[in-house]
Symmetry: C2
Amino acid sequence: MVDTAGVQRRGRGRPSGSNGSDTRNKILRAAREVFSEVGYDAATFKDIAARADITRTSVNHYFHSKEELYETLFDSTRERIDSVVRTGLRKADAENGVVERISTFLHAAVNIDSADRSVAKFIVASLFDSFRNPEFGSRALGQLDEVRAFFLSTLESDVVRGTLRSDADLTAITEMLVAVMWGMSMYAGFVGTNDQLESVVDQFVELLAGRLFEGPSAETEPRLS
Amino acid sequence: MVDTAGVQRRGRGRPSGSNGSDTRNKILRAAREVFSEVGYDAATFKDIAARADITRTSVNHYFHSKEELYETLFDSTRERIDSVVRTGLRKADAENGVVERISTFLHAAVNIDSADRSVAKFIVASLFDSFRNPEFGSRALGQLDEVRAFFLSTLESDVVRGTLRSDADLTAITEMLVAVMWGMSMYAGFVGTNDQLESVVDQFVELLAGRLFEGPSAETEPRLS
């Protein structure tokens, strides 16, 4: 459990056997959790040091200000997202249809969320913090630019392949998929368990594939039974 | 534009011709905006009074503490959601298939968002505030309980009607739809314009109806041309 400040209290002290890069990564990870849980404004170096199990002086050694730490975190999270997108793209490229490509991408993304939920949590939380702290401008909104670009290029390539209707509104479909991704990130970061998240993605993939709702429609010939 | 605190400055003074109920509603509306923009922790009665264009003393006359104001707002937002759900349910009841019912519901929901985006914004923002302020417990998570109940009962009734596969995992589909609703609320509250929001919902409805991706699949007979 966490206390009212949302921060786990632990004993401090620089762990033995760690090097500078380890310590820096430990700070970034702790900061990602603390910023997500209490928000940018309420987060302090003291909380982050406690969470990382190091001294506050050590945090200051690596980062001179909260803003610098937040921006570094932001950029490293963005690199994680880019890496997810690249992995997703590589896997998706082996697939033929638009549905298979998007499904493959979502499963690749959710696997990384499952391994470290704090990334999903930070993506969504930082979107709020950027609205609440105009000095970060539109940085957070840009977080999903790579995801948006992936969806758009996938949809475009599928029009070329003939697996997507040529009159489809690609920008509108992309925005819908981005909204769905946000909902899933929110679900991943704050609401569901890993199993529930997997299941949410599975059901969305079933929906994409047209396998979810197979009830009779006006255009369907009635089956003879 | 807004200043760094995210609060529009206006002249104050109780407006002429207003009654107690008007003033209370004005405070609630201003508070919904301010809480969404700067978060529960950073919001002050001073900001809310300025936004409502009344004196701080007037705010205090109606609400004795920030917590009381927030909880009142929470309950009134929940009533709005319930009312949206009831409207959506009534309209959806006239429809036969699961896709038509969910689509009708989403369009009813989005019409209300379009008229007053601050509700969507508050729904999503308060979810974060409840994570960041454990004294509100799971209130925010419960905000979408009615929506969840609507999806589940719609899916159940469609299994009974035979328009949804009887082996479908209704709980999982419901959670997926809840995640999508969150994404759309986030999009509605913080990202897109009204037109973009309508378009996101339209595309999701096309997806639900199986009209979005109509490319060839393994199960489809090739067409003779």
